[in-house]
Amino acid sequence: MTMLDAFEVECFEEVGQDVYKQITETVLSDHNLTAVISKLRIFIDPRIPIFVAVGTIRDAGARIRVSDIGSVQVQGDNTVISIRDETYLAQFLTRLYDIFGHDHVDQPDRFTVIISEVEIPQDFEQIEIVNRADTVLRDLIYAMTVIAPEGFKVRRESYGKRQFFYAASENTLPEHVVEDMVSGQFALIGEEMA
């Protein structure tokens, strides 16, 4: 978790605090989110009970282009794409089907995609397949759901351009209580709630 500028878990129970710190680290690295978050602060009070997570993200606008997924080689009538990174392969294939049609796109094995009998656009390697910024905040909120204690089903979540918060409890808490808590947590990481 060295990539985060600030990371803190606060809870009056020391054991619970340490375990939740560990859980957060595990979940964020499992979801590939450590590089995205800049600051993160989690506050848990099992007496109320409430779980609040507030944070800011770095610029996550990493655009994934064809050249990031694999290398393109033209071999006669065919274009062979050797896949380097499979992470966005599903979206990549869907995009290829849209552009060239199912008849012209074939995937003979896991790491090879062949586009046959069709002309490839000039700027093919620069076509944007995925923009991580579209999904990263959703992924982040999902990760918070995973971190939050079991049974905290009453949730409020919000994400803007670079801030997010997630509050959860098993009770329905008055709006102003949650808002005060969330803005208090934002203040502790030196941010103003948007």
Binding site: V15, V19, I23, P49, E150, G151, E170
Partner: protein, 312 residues
């Protein structure tokens, strides 16, 4: 004759002789796993014959270990089995206990999560009560465990081992009335148990489980059972050939004081009841036969000597 639970690990070569030898000693096979070239037997053998049995298996390169968890059925109870909270620590606990010979069942409660909202329904309570022992795998906060544990144990009359992230002493302090055992430093975590520290915690559960089970066995010894569960298992296997067609890993699960038979209750109750254990003594004379809350299985609970005045 005192029977002790053991695990025998060896090759398939001449394993039939090992089985014959256990039976000749007056022991019983509880479970037999055959995996390719390897064979794992969980059995009960007379205490005084362990040395003899170990000597017999030595030329076959077999290994005999005492495993106190053999011959019992344990419920691993967890407040929820929610998909986004996977992997659950209870999965690793259940699996680890199996490696040392216990038969474990996971009981994921329908509404066990939360503090105020946690509940235990009658089916869950009855299923837990059909086991020899329940291990409650609770979470990370003392405040929550204190409040919810009494709700989750309501009506459960089998011994309970409580686990959670607070240390052993803290768990003990917040539990009233006390549980049968406690294992601290083990609550909800989101990784698989791989490190040495994690395995150490699992070992602590095994140790605590063995301690509690031995205490239960000592208690049973004060008023012994009319027949040994392992012997009853053999009687049923000989008397009802259909049991061989049940594809469950343990068609007959041996418990400390009974058996769970994975056959339909309505069709087999009378057959089991009338099976002779010995001349003039049937299973019906020595045990209560009732429907299990788990599927349509049969639950056999052996009566103690004080009730039947028979020991066979």
């Amino acid at each position: 004759m005192i029977l002790v639970p053991i695990t025998y690990t060896g090759g398939v070569y001449r394993h039939d002789e090992v089985i014959d030898y256990i039976e000749d000693l007056g022991g019983y096979i509880v479970q037999k796993h055959e995996m390719a070239q390897e064979m794992v037997l969980q059995a009960f053998i007379p205490k005084e014959d362990i040395g003899r049995f170990t000597a017999f298996t030595k030329p076959l390169a077999g290994e005999v270990t005492e495993s106190p968890l053999v011959g019992c059925e344990i419920a691993v109870v967890i407040p929820s089995l929610e998909i986004h909270h996977l992997p659950h620590s209870a999965c690793d606990i259940a699996e680890y206990l199996r490696t040392v010979g216990a038969k474990t069942n996971m009981v994921g409660l329908a509404r066990g999560f939360g503090k105020r909202i946690s509940q235990l329904n009658d089916e869950e309570r009855d299923v837990i009560n059909e086991h020899d022992l329940a291990i409650y795998v609770l979470g990370n906060f003392e405040t929550c465990i204190e409040e919810k544990f009494n709700g989750l144990r309501r009506g459960v009359n089998v011994p309970i081992i409580l686990t959670g992230a607070p240390p052993h002493e803290a768990l003990k302090r917040i539990t009233d009335p006390p549980a049968a055992g406690y294992v601290g430093n083990l609550g909800r975590f989101m990784h698989r148990t791989r490190t040495e520290a994690d395995i150490g915690r699992l070992d602590a559960i095994v140790e605590e489980t063995a301690r509690v089970l031995n205490a239960i066995r000592d208690e049973i010894a004060h008023d012994p059972l009319s027949v040994s569960p392992a012997r009853l298992k053999e009687v049923i296997e000989d008397g009802i050939p259909e049991i061989r067609e049940v594809y469950s890993p343990t068609p007959i699960t041996v418990q400390l004081t009974g058996l769970r038979i994975k056959l339909p209750f309505d069709r087999y109750r009378d057959v089991i009841k009338s099976l002779p254990v010995e001349e003039d003594v049937t299973i019906g004379d020595t045990a209560w036969i009732s429907p299990s809350r788990m599927r349509d299985y049969i639950l056999v609970q052996i009566k103690p000597f004080s009730e039947t005045h028979i020991v066979v």
